[in-house]
């Protein structure tokens, strides 16, 4: 992260920032006083870049226990007149939705910006959600940046809008903003004022009578959107072919028009304020258009909204054809609303609109590519990192369930350990839903004995997840006496999203130390039998899981071993195959370490016809040493 570029007070200087850093910078230029988030890709680096700057910048930054608490903390700051930001991925918005829909009714005071990063294509998510629908459901205004630079400008503007209309304002980012980098012109930094105070004349109450007030506030936001600097049209004003684009799709649309040489025939309307729509501006742009193409991610949201506007004004606007995801003219990787909108999709769609085509590569090259037979190249599935303690944990859970023999069911949720549902986790997880859902499901399965259910159930959770969403489900299982085994894969960090601290780590976002809240203390406080085991000791772990499977009531097993990617975890040794002991295919193990255990560091040496440890990848966890049936793998100390 370019912390220096982010915190330098040099207005006019051009620096390179990621989209997430640009959003953080937008906050710093707006006098941000309070920032709270729960990590989730692709949103995590917003708070990740704010936190190290907080102390010197005179503002507060927090990794909150979950998104609901994060938004409540930010709302408190807003009520005290402080500018506040909360950041989450789309799934997190679902968690924060209850307080957020209430805040829409009660209104807010200091600017409150809700940054939600959607993940078109689900690069690092389990689902593709479009936040624009939820902004509409909440009745809250939403802005969509098209570039990294605009993400900064919009964030700053969003604070002003929030204060002007007295509502939280959404900034909807997507992966190609959040995890993109781009040149950004810096503005002046604005330190937050030290005047936080709750004025006792203020009341922020959620009551149905405020529903009407909310509609009035949305009308005010709409009026401001008409003049917002984020909507503009490029191309000839009289062109009957119009592209309406939001988010990074706008940059693809612009490039497509250029590559096709269609600049004289096609207009591109860039919309940055997408809910509520600036209707006057939209009406003016639709006039004269006969074919309208929509380029947007994820769902056909603008397409539907604009069509609805047109239906109301059809007499004035005349006949028009709408081309988009809903009409089937702009598809993702299959159906409408699926996958990213790529430059190729934009090029095809704009080409069809303009009746033009362009070949970006020669036919001779295309023929050579055909000979490569791309479809036959080995695919690359996601896998646990070499030395990941989760691989050992899933191996042990699977082995214990086989020993138990009652067809036990393993339930999971979201984190690195979601890969437990795939090959790398031996297809162990049978369900994956929201954070903590595995424990709620386990609690339910555990009560089905009345209905003839005899299988043991195991819920697998992460350490950060434990604090985020598991505690209420654990209380439920314990109080209702559901015989579940909850296994916490405790790797001492929020690993998937980039090692953010959580209440078990003893560290705050701003870097200071705090008394940790150990998982076992909380579990024992709930009266749950709780054990702690190192998963890298495979035999002992199998024994623990097996024994606990055969006890009554709800219980918790913590499998504790740090994420190997943590900077504090040093590589001191690695595994090496003794080629005199490994006898290859003659062993009868069926290349066990390579094919069955499948750590990426255990490769097959085609020349030697023996297993080999890739010394670049091996992290020295030693699990394969315990598992090799011929004891042909041993530690090698590193210099």
């Amino acid at each position: 992260m370019s912390l220096h570029a982010l915190s330098t007070d040099a207005p006019g200087e051009v620096v390179i920032l990621s989209g997430n850093e640009a959003i953080a910078r937008g906050g710093l230029e707006a006098g941000l006083g309070y920032a709270a988030a729960y990590p989730g890709s692709p949103s995590s680096e917003v708070l990740g870049s704010l936190a190290p700057l907080a102390r010197d910048g005179g503002f507060y930054a927090e990794w909150s226990t979950n998104e609901k608490v994060a938004i409540e903390g930010a709302a408190a700051a807003s009520f005290a007149g402080v500018r506040a930001m909360t950041v989450m991925k789309a799934d997190g918005l679902n968690v924060a939705l209850d307080p957020l829909t209430s805040l829409a009714y009660s209104g807010t005071k200091g600017g409150l910006v809700v940054v939600v990063c959607d993940d078109p294509g689900a690069h690092s998510s389990t689902k593709e959600e479009d936040t624009r629908y939820l902004a509409r459901a909440c009745h809250l205004p939403l802005l969509e940046p098209a570039t990294v630079e605009e993400a900064k400008e919009m964030t700053r503007w969003a604070f002003d809008l929030s204060e002007a209309v007295g509502l939280p304002v959404f900034l909807r980012s997507v992966t190609r903003i959040a995890h993109a980098r781009g040149s950004v012109v810096l503005g002046a930094l604005r330190p937050p004022p030290r005047t936080a105070r709750y004025d006792l004349k203020d009341r922020f109450i959620t009551l149905s009578v405020f529903h009407q007030v909310l509609h009035q506030r949305i009308a005010q936001a709409r009026a401001r959107f008409e003049q917002a600097p984020f909507n503009r049209c490029e191309g000839p004003a009289d062109a009957s072919r119009l592209v309406i684009a939001s988010g990074p799709s706008f940059t693809y649309a612009r490039e497509a028009v250029r590559l096709l040489g269609a600049g004289d025939e096609v207009r591109v309307l860039k919309l940055g304020t997408t809910w509520p729509l600036p209707e006057d501006l939209l009406g003016a742009q639709l006039r004269g258009a006969r074919q309208v193409l929509f380029l947007e991610e994820i769902e056909p949201f603008l397409e539907t909204e604009v069509k609805s506007y047109w239906a109301q004004h059809a007499a004035a606007l005349g006949p028009m054809t709408f081309l988009g995801k809903a009409s089937g003219h702009v598809a993702g990787s299959g159906d409408p609303g699926v996958g990213e909108l790529t430059p190729e999709i934009a090029l095809r769609a704009v080409g069809a609109l303009a009746g033009r085509e362009v070949a970006l590569r020669s036919e001779a090259f295309a023929r050579k590519v055909e000979q490569v037979k791309l479809g036959e190249l080995a695919p690359r599935a996601l896998a646990f990192c070499p030395g990941c303690p989760h691989r050992a944990s899933f191996w042990a859970i699977k082995a214990a369930l086989e020993l138990d023999g009652r067809q036990g069911v393993v339930l999971g949720d979201i984190g690195c350990y979601t890969l437990g549902a795939m090959q790398t986790g031996y297809f162990t997880l049978k369900t994956v839903h929201a954070m903590g859902s595995g424990v709620g499901l386990a609690s339910g399965f555990g009560k089905l004995d009345l209905l003839g259910f005899t299988q043991p159930v195991v819920a697998v959770i992460g350490d950060s997840t434990f604090y985020h969403a598991v505690v209420p489900a654990l209380v439920n299982a314990r109080y209702n006496d559901s015989p579940v085994l909850v296994v916490v894969l405790d790797n001492a960090t929020t690993a998937m999203t980039g090692h953010q601290p959580h209440p078990g780590t003893g560290r705050h976002a701003m870097g200071d130390l705090a008394p940790a809240l150990p998982i076992e203390a909380i579990a024992r406080g709930l009266g749950l039998p709780t054990e702690v085991q190192d998963p890298l000791q495979v035999d002992e772990t199998v024994e623990s899981v097996y024994r606990l499977l055969r006890t009554d009531g709800a219980k918790l097993l913590i499998l504790r071993s740090p994420c190997v990617l943590l900077p504090s975890v040093k590589r001191l040794r690695r595994a090496a195959v003794d080629t005199t002991r490994c006898i290859g295919e003659a062993c009868g193990c069926g290349r066990f370490c390579n094919r069955a255990f499948s750590c990426p560091a255990l490769v097959w040496d085609r020349a030697l016809e023996r297993a080999r440890v890739d010394e670049v990848l091996c992290s020295g966890c030693g699990v394969c040493i315990d598992l090799c049936p011929r004891e042909a793998i041993a530690f090698q100390e590193l210099a």
Binding site: I16, E149, A180, P343, L347, F365, T424
Partner: protein, 201 residues
């Protein structure tokens, strides 16, 4: 000057993000407006990763390079390099590749076969307008840690002279980005990559 479109192809964990950040900063130092599109998160866990690095005069380009517009592929892993060159390249695309394979899970479990490494490089040679093979993992080992292969590859690319980036600019940027032992390691890996290619030119 023409816009520059570069893709860095590799496997999660090989240091794509750091390489793209350094190359983008170096392009900006040469006066370009830059844009980088990358994927990280779940894909970090052993999946294919790709960074799109773009530089243009005037308006900042979009975060993704349209297929068929890639000028240079910087490949950290040969199979991924072939995949990306075939999918994103064109007849003028030039390629720098680290020939050391990282085997996919399906190859380990026996469900798929990894192509013969020599044939893989030959196929890549038929697609690339120019191909430079750099044993970057070995150079990184020489520098002190095999994981610095990404900086050895950045050095190799700068050594080809295909990108409007000055070696001194990269050395300076590394100084702003890293400190102590990691800085020493990365600068050494960069220098070894740079020299390895320059000796051939």
């Amino acid at each position: 000057m023409q816009p520059v479109n570069l893709v860095i192809a590799g496997v999660g964990g090989q240091g794509n993000v750091v390489a793209s950040e350094i190359l983008a900063t170096a392009l900006a130092a040469s006066g370009y407006r830059v844009s980088v599109g990358e994927t990280f998160g779940a894909s970090q866990r052993g999946g294919s990763v790709m960074s799109h690095v773009r530089g243009a005069r005037g308006e900042t380009p979009g975060p993704l390079i349209p297929k068929g517009l890639v000028d240079i592929v910087l490949g950290f892993e040969p199979l991924e390099t072939l995949r990306v060159t075939a999918e994103y390249g064109r007849e003028t695309t030039r390629v720098v590749v680290n020939p050391r394979p990282v085997y996919p899970l399906a190859v380990q479990t026996g469900e798929a076969t990894y192509p013969d490494p020599r044939e893989l490089i030959e196929t890549l040679g038929t697609l690339a307008a120019e191909l430079t093979v750099v044993e970057a993992t070995e150079l990184a080992r020489e520098a002190g840690d095999v994981r610095a292969q990404n900086l050895a590859m950045v050095g190799a690319l700068v050594g080809t002279g295909w990108l409007p980036v000055q070696p001194d600019a990269v050395v300076r940027i590394l100084g702003e980005r890293f400190a102590d032992e990691v800085l020493r390691l990365n600068r050494e890996a960069f220098r070894l990559g740079l020299d390895a290619v320059r000796q051939r030119v």
